[in-house]
Symmetry: C2
Subunit: 333 residues, 2 copies
């Protein structure tokens, strides 16, 4: 079996570490692994398949002989280093939003639009985490009857903001327990026992970047330029797994029974929908695994041809790292 030289760019972050773990879990055919990060992480080691791998500095000349780069860095660094990696002959699977809407960059959720991968010119983008969760949840419904409009309210975990987000919630909860003053660094306000309706900068219409990704990226992944999405993104004091309350309006009616039938066999989805038995998706349950949990499926009693559901997914795994490794698997197969 052919094996590949893989680099993880941003290897020390929450998503980078998870990518490494998932390469190992899924037994991705890695020949050599290269861990790249910023200068201050250089020299540290991270275990991969029983070996301690030394973290190296990410530079433009870091990509010699690399076949696949899994990138989990911010837009600025990705814009600088991804083209350099491509020039070295690698294919970059990029978790930043830098290239997601570029015409020559596929934006892939493997369960939804695997065919788009062939259009790549060296860079393939991994979509926004909340968008991956939503489109995976609604993909089979959209195939059955085209979705024209989505109304989404998110409940997003602190780990969406990386290790510092996780630590900020933990530290604030501890400080409050001990009657100490809390520190606010990562989020705009206290997140412990609070909600913050602010993820990314706001545009002139009043939507945050995170909110607009659901429409812009959703359109591209679903291949539906007319899809209309009104999204509200809220940070909640949950460590891991994003949750979403979704209303979809479709061309023709999808009955809840039909929707459950479609969701029960949808790739990447686990239908959990027995509310009378206290069974429905919850972020605590959907953490540390790869399926998008979907439930609370019901008719929208406020409109025809409209359906309501609730879903939860681990945004570090399926919403980022797992999806990136799945794209790498598509690429080599």
């Amino acid at each position: 079996m052919t094996k590949f030289n893989v680099a993880i760019l941003g290897a020390t972050g929450v998503v980078g570490r998870e990518m490494l773990k998932i390469l190992e879990e899924r037994n991705f055919p890695v020949k050599n692994i290269k861990l790249l990060a910023s200068k201050r992480s250089v020299g540290g080691t991270i275990n991969f398949k029983g070996n301690d791998v030394i973290v190296e500095e990410a530079k433009e000349d870091s990509f010699k002989d690399i076949d696949i780069v899994l990138s989990a860095v911010g837009n600025g660094i990705s814009k600088k280093l991804s083209p350099a990696a491509v020039k070295s002959g690698a294919v970059v699977i990029d978790n930043s939003s830098a290239f997601r809407l570029c015409d020559d960059v596929p934006l892939i959720v493997p369960e939804v639009n695997p065919q788009d991968i062939n259009k790549h010119n060296g860079i393939i983008s991994n979509p926004n985490c909340s968008t991956i969760i939503a489109v995976t949840a609604i993909n089979e419904l959209n195939k059955y009857s085209k979705i024209n409009r989505m109304i989404v309210s998110t409940y997003q975990a602190v780990s969406g903001a990386g290790i510092s987000g996780l630590n900020e919630l933990k530290n604030q909860v501890e400080a409050i327990s001990n009657n100490k003053e809390i520190d606010i660094k990562t989020f705009q306000h206290q997140i412990a026992f609070n909600l913050i309706p602010h993820i990314g900068d706001f545009d002139e219409v009043g939507y945050s970047q995170e909110e607009m990704k659901m429409q812009n990226e959703g359109r591209k992944i679903l291949g539906n330029k007319d899809l209309k999405v009104n999204c509200t993104c809220i940070r909640v004091p949950v460590y891991r797994s994003h949750s979403e309350s979704i209303t979809i309006e479709t061309d023709k009616e999808i009955t809840p029974e039909k929707a459950r039938e479609l969701l029960a066999k949808a790739e990447g989805v686990k239908l959990i929908d027995n509310p009378n038995n206290k069974e429905y998706p919850m972020p605590l349950d959907s953490s540390n695994q790869d399926l998008i949990y979907v439930g609370r499926v019901r008719k929208d009693i406020s409109a025809d041809n409209s359906l309501v559901l609730w879903c939860c997914g681990d945004q570090i795994r399926k919403g980022a790292a797992t999806n990136a490794v799945q794209i790498a698997e598509l690429l080599i197969n």
Copy 2:
């Protein structure tokens, strides 16, 4: 000034205690106060205007000479005792859902439908907390252009389940900090660092009781029998103040500018809408006061004549106790 004999039924619960506090705060003309609760609370005292008042057992003959009963008990006890209080000559302002949809029982949010109070036959119902918050937020918008449809996702604080809800979150957070096992009694699942899409029993369509109240009570309060509401109610690990993500579809367009103008002068509302300056409603800020905070007002980019907003309100105060005392004020004026 005429003064009134007031009884608080369910005086030892979260809402009952808050009612007492608010009577004092708003200087309601109380002649004598009577505190009624279940047998196990009898003999305890609660301070009112500097005096320790002894808690008495709530029985059918507890209401002699009482003018106004503020009731904060569950449906079962309210169904038994409210008619007895009315028979004794009192007017009952009832926080339970037992009588809310009865034709001869007004369901009042004083900012919205004060005129309905005249129709009472001894019982006036206090609406569901999430519904009070939503209708107060959207009242002026609805007056400007009739709302036909609402899509609501809630983020509901644990104190909505009373003292035991507050304690359950606190105890679970402490247990998790100390690596101890958590207790689950009040909620269906762990609520600390989790979300639970389950508030009240589910109907055959798949909506929870809490979700259906938004439509059923909203219709009655707004006097709009055709109002259609699709609501998703989620319990979140926040101590106090419910939050709601709301989309409203209206007869004619309400521009965000017009909406902000209306909200800025709306009774019971505080407009906080400068997201670029990190100013928007948050449950931590809206707790322990009576206004409904409204912000993130923007055009719904997924439909015409549709508007999106985010609101937070203290569900123990405006969502329950304050609203009840406001009704009592209407009654005596």
